[in-house]
Amino acid sequence: MPKRTDIKKILIIGSGPIIIGQACEFDYSGTQACKVLREEGFVVVLINSNPATIMTDPELADVTYIEPITVDVVAKIIEKERPDAVLPTLGGQTGLNTAMKLAEAGVLDKYNVKMIGADYNAIKRAEDRDVFKKIIIEIGLDLPRSGLAHSIEESKRVLVDIGLPVIIRPSFTLGGTGGGIANTEEEFNRIVGLGLKNSMISEVLIEESIAGWKEYELEVMRDKNDNVVIICSIENFDPMGIHTGDSITVAPAQTLTDKEYQKMRDASLAIIRAVGVETGGSNIQFAVNPVDGRMVVIEMNPRVSRSSALASKATGFPIAKFAAKLAVGYTLDEIQNDITKETPASFEPSIDYCVVKIPRFTFEKFPEAKDVLGISMKSVGETMAIGRTFKEALQKGLRGLEIGHTGLDNKQDYKTVSDDKIKQRLQEPNASRIFYIKYALQKGYSVETIGNLTGIDPWFIDNIAQIVEMEQEIVHGPWSIVHRNKEGIQNKLSTVLLKRAKQMGFSDWQIAELLGLEELEVRKYREKNGIFPTYKLVDTCAGEFEAYTPYYYSTYETEDEVQVSSKKKIIILGGGPNRIGQGIEFDYCCCHASFALRDLGYETIMVNSNPETVSTDYDTSDKLYFEPLTFEDVLNIINKEKPDGVIVQFGGQTPLNLARQLRDAGAPIIGTSVESSDKAENRDEFSKILKKLKISQPDNGSARSKEEAVKIASNIGYPVVVRPSYVLGGRAMRIVYDKEELESFIKEAQDVSPRQPVLIDQFLEDAIEVDVDAVSDGKDTVIGGIMEHIEEAGIHSGDSACVLPPHTLSDDIIDKIREYTLALAKELKTQGLINIQFAVKKNVVYALEVNPRASRTVPFVSKATGVSLAKVAAKVMVGKSLKELGVIKEKKVNHFAVKESVLPFSRFSGVDIKLGPEMKSTGEVMGIDRLFGNAFYKAQAGAGQNLPLEGKVFISVRNEDKRDIVFIAKKLYDMDFKIVATKGTAKVLRANNMDVEVVNKITDSDKNILESIRKEEIKLIINTPSGKKGQSDSKPIRSTAVLQGVPCITTIQGAQAAVNGIESIINGTLEVKAIQEYLEKSETRVQKPEKK
């Protein structure tokens, strides 16, 4: 039976900003859904607050709302658009929860909107742990013993039945927020308390601890005829007790016999039927006791999940795309397998390789947090690697992680690691445990001992032991008598051994490190001896049918399946695993580059290792190489494909770091030259350019020693900004207020970027920061967007809110900024994108930084203005001029777009919540409106910071702001807010006829204000601190505010914006409007000629 005809218009709810536990996998799934449903002739209405997504590109849905994903807003959209159905299963937990809340609020019934895919009751059965448990028992499956609690008292009664240790899981949260394992009563009380708070329905599940059991996941799909297939099985390398998002995982399952696997498969079929997920994908997790094989059901996600994205990339089976088709009435046997083109989708993929996913952590950004892993997810990204063996995939994955490892290497000498340290690192799950397994093996620990300490299956550990043995063979074996003379390596690294090492995933660099050689020497020797990678296809069917989808991975085998075309082609290097500072924004740019060049008739070739992304969807580019982004792996592909150009400027720092090496190896890098990038990055060169162009720059200097740094800083005058050179996302960058702080910080900066000078700049306190994105063809430059920061200066641009167009800057200043942008782009011979950061203080425009590459704000600017900067830039890079492309004018918009960032602090307990020059946010949202206040309000709401419409506001401002705060406070006061203020602020407000409650500052003994925030009495905080003392005073206020989810505004401009927003909402003028409508009304502005 073909598709449903009772539905014409479908609402898709996206997943909002990137947060830990919900990343770009939902852009991938949502994008697939939008494409498929429109192909099928449905009208698609989309809501997502995240502008960095492909799905919110105006051409992907019929109507796109970049609005906060809240019940109120979605209800307004439903009222306006009147969709027939809502598809809640493709937008992560956010999409699912929002749809559930809409149903509960009666909105869906009121407007007669059906839930397709999974209905309200099915979702309830899967998500409500109590109901789910009953279902599992009814169908005769086993579960860990457990009980539910809604209060601390109830939890204690449950504990009596089960006994410690137990796992506590709050119901209805994202990625297991607030859960944990309790071994003692004290831990139990703490975790239960937190869990009750984090749960949307104040409910926690208390469960028999099965920590240390083997963990499995099955990806299941069902159609309306009740056909069910398993797409992929996944075995976790890390045992139960570690969130699957934080575990190394392997596909397919490795250590189950067929009998056991079929038992799990049968259970999955029974569960999806009993829960009643009508159509689409679900993910079901199991645990198996390694001692006796007892299998228990852990949980089910009745929707497309992170694991679904992984399973899609691991097998080539597009789960989200087919889930969307099933939701509108198709059955699996009616859908064709894209890859084979002759067989139907009603089959189970068989794979002939091994897939390893490794999480990427960012503990270095949160030095106070321990890198200990548990059931609450902490990783910010992941990399996937494909190999013919587990060993090969693991080593490819480790180098693809981009944390400085060349594989399972010897970054630390095992001899320097104590036994105590090894035992501790093996026993307590942590981000670098995989390397400690290796150290332990090198020290002579047995596989069994390591298995007992870690709970990791001996099969995995023994495979690691085989890597260690190979390393021994390379170093000490009779085959590898290597020495160097003028001709390079002379003999005797046996080519047989070398090939075996490559088959185990050893990188050239890793082998070079073992033998004391250079990477290029090993490469040359390897190639001389005819050892080249072969590329194999991911084809869903293990070679049984011919495959038409060019999705490749490398391995060292006998047959290479790549068909190299004679077309003009461009390779685009992606960004690798998501991390703070480099995420979906860059993947967006890579995808756009691919789309644009395809339009121009080029064959586009994507290289990336991130399974969450749209760029690694096999139909985004003409060819996809799922490979680590290292020099070796990328150069191999370049040598194979011989492209006309390689693009490095869209994937963030990852490909840029490879640019020089690739160019030296003969790769045709296109766009802005490597020299120009270096010039922009090099302090001295950059200063010279600015001097030449007569552009102001904060006083600065670079220091190579502590003494030098102190001298420079005292010449400039405190406060100063200190940072290492050649880093991304402001890593180890800080504002320093005095000599002592400088001395203690300088070491850290040197550690982050050794042998490079530390840069010291004057900190422009009270300046307004401005970001500009522009595109240049080397001759002409067109500005994409000018963004004014709303936060105080000194906060990393990735973490601060900004508005496009600027709302407080004068035309003169903006013209100056334009002039400087054009001059800098020209001077750097930019061919492609350029991002410039300025600061404006007392009518002087200072240039802070220039990056001739794609920036994080490119997608935001593109969404706000409707011009795809990345597409234009890609076309420019292959030789088109801006004139030819018709891009000659800066776009003028008649609305305001506000970007706000989303921070992960609640994941890292004990971390000082403070924004600064080092970026810490994971994602962003956009608020767009005709009025600035409304746009700001929407951005806040989208970021989960709901500005209050009533209640108490805490105000504490520095002296300089006391005059300006009166007007703002008066507005709040007139809207019936209760004002609470510190003494000085209160005095000013009282003098202006407001009733104000006085609280003590933090530094006073009474911690009144923090108590009030904790008790959730305070709904909004306006706190403008100044100087070092002010900063440290307000630190606890900010920390508490973030933990409690209370909006905290730190600038007068921000406060003004917030009050405007609140006023608009109270007056009832908040409207929703599709992005397509905004863009229609925008016009282009004639750019003023470049001043001489």
Partner: protein, 366 residues
């Protein structure tokens, strides 16, 4: 590759292609038709499936042997295939039921194992060139000599391999049951017997050459025709037996049993290019429209066109290539399927067919 780096072994195909790797298990020289199996799990069941007699099996999944070998998951009394080819034979065994390693098991059963082979290249080669004769050898012959040996080896077509795998005596599989079922053993898998037992049958297994009269003397409520190796056209005696049994007792056939029934009902069989060997084959039940994911292992197939549609109804088809997967006699209580509803290895989606056999028996008793 596992750490066990041993002697070189080659597989030479009749079309001249030679792959080389390392051997585990036994050494020597063996002939067979090389086929590939796409099951990710279930190598122990595959090794002990009598239907693989005469074949060299390549596993497309590269990591084999991970969970070892146990005494429970066997499908017959021994290993029948001629050789076993994998990318990597695991040197470590990890599973709570594991008793020995794969290489040890092959050695004990005197079976040659090959590892370190680009099994995907071999699979693609077979997909394009079809299943072909091959020799595996640990000897020192030139490649050319080995290829000639492969060319001169026996083909599966027309060869009776059943006689090499079956029992020569009647035996009782289980003592208790509500239905007397006789299984004609052409190389039966234990999981079929286990499934018959599970639906209430008292199972008697008889040699494939037992006459129809002797079978009827056992007073069966139903007769089951088992799976087995090789070409159905080569076991004419069973075809004759089945012809005689038609209309006298309800019958159910699986795999080779299905092909034998097909011939007995007047149909023809032919050889598929490279067969169906794996656990992910979609089969549509034409009556319900539902799709079952099935385990399959066959190189021959009943020609759907050759069946007399007045007598025989097509009940199942393969959605990958639209070949015949199941049929039912329109008047007589007889049905059969090409796939393996008993799984072992593979999905349990179609075990309902054993209950249908019982329903058929019940109905014919009325």
């Amino acid at each position: 590759m596992s750490g066990i780096q041993s002697q070189r072994v080659r597989i030479a195909l009749e079309d001249g292609v030679v792959f080389s790797g390392f051997f585990f298990g036994a050494s020597g020289e063996k002939f067979g038709e090389v086929v590939f199996n796409t099951s990710i799990t279930g190598y122990q069941e595959i090794l002990t499936d009598p239907s693989y007699k005469g074949q060299i099996v390549t596993m497309t999944y590269p990591l084999i042997g991970n969970y070892g070998i146990n005494s429970e998951d066997v499908e017959s009394r021994k290993v029948f295939l001629e050789g076993f080819i994998v990318k990597e034979c695991s040197r470590i065994v990890s599973n709570w039921r594991a008793q020995k390693s794969l290489s040890q098991y092959l050695k004990e059963n005197n079976i040659m194992g090959l590892e370190g082979i680009d099994t995907r290249a071999l699979t693609r080669h077979i997909r394009l060139g079809g299943a072909m004769r091959a020799v595996i050898s640990t000897g020192n012959d030139d490649d050319k000599v080995l290829v000639d040996k492969a060319k001169n080896s026996l083909s599966l077509v027309g060869r009776d391999l059943v006689s090499e795998v079956v029992t020569d005596k009647i035996y009782q599989w289980n003592e208790d049951g509500n239905y007397e079922v006789v299984v004609i053993d052409c190389g039966v898998k234990f999981n079929i017997l286990r499934n018959l037992q599970a639906v209430g049958c008292r199972v008697t297994v008889v040699p494939y050459d037992m006459s129809a009269d002797d079978i009827l003397k056992l007073k069966p409520d139903g007769v089951f025709i088992s799976n087995g190796p090789g070409d159905p056209a080569a076991v004419k005696n069973v075809v004759d037996t089945i012809k005689k049994l038609l209309g006298k007792t309800p019958m159910f056939g699986i795999c080779l049993g299905h092909q034998i029934l097909g011939i007995a009902l007047g149909g023809r069989t032919y050889k598929l290019k490279f067969g169906h060997h794996g656990g992910n084959q979609p089969v549509k039940d034409l009556k319900t429209g539902k799709v079952a994911i099935t385990a399959q292992n066959h190189g021959f197939c009943v020609d759907i066109e050759s069946l007399d549609k007045n007598d025989v109804e097509v009940t199942h088809i393969n959605l990958n290539d639209n070949t015949l997967e199941g049929m039912r006699h329109k008047k007589l209580p007889v049905f059969s399927v090409q796939f393996h509803p008993e799984a072992g290895p593979g999905p349990n989606d179609a075990t309902y067919l054993f209950s249908e056999f019982i329903t058929m028996i019940d109905r014919s008793k009325q």
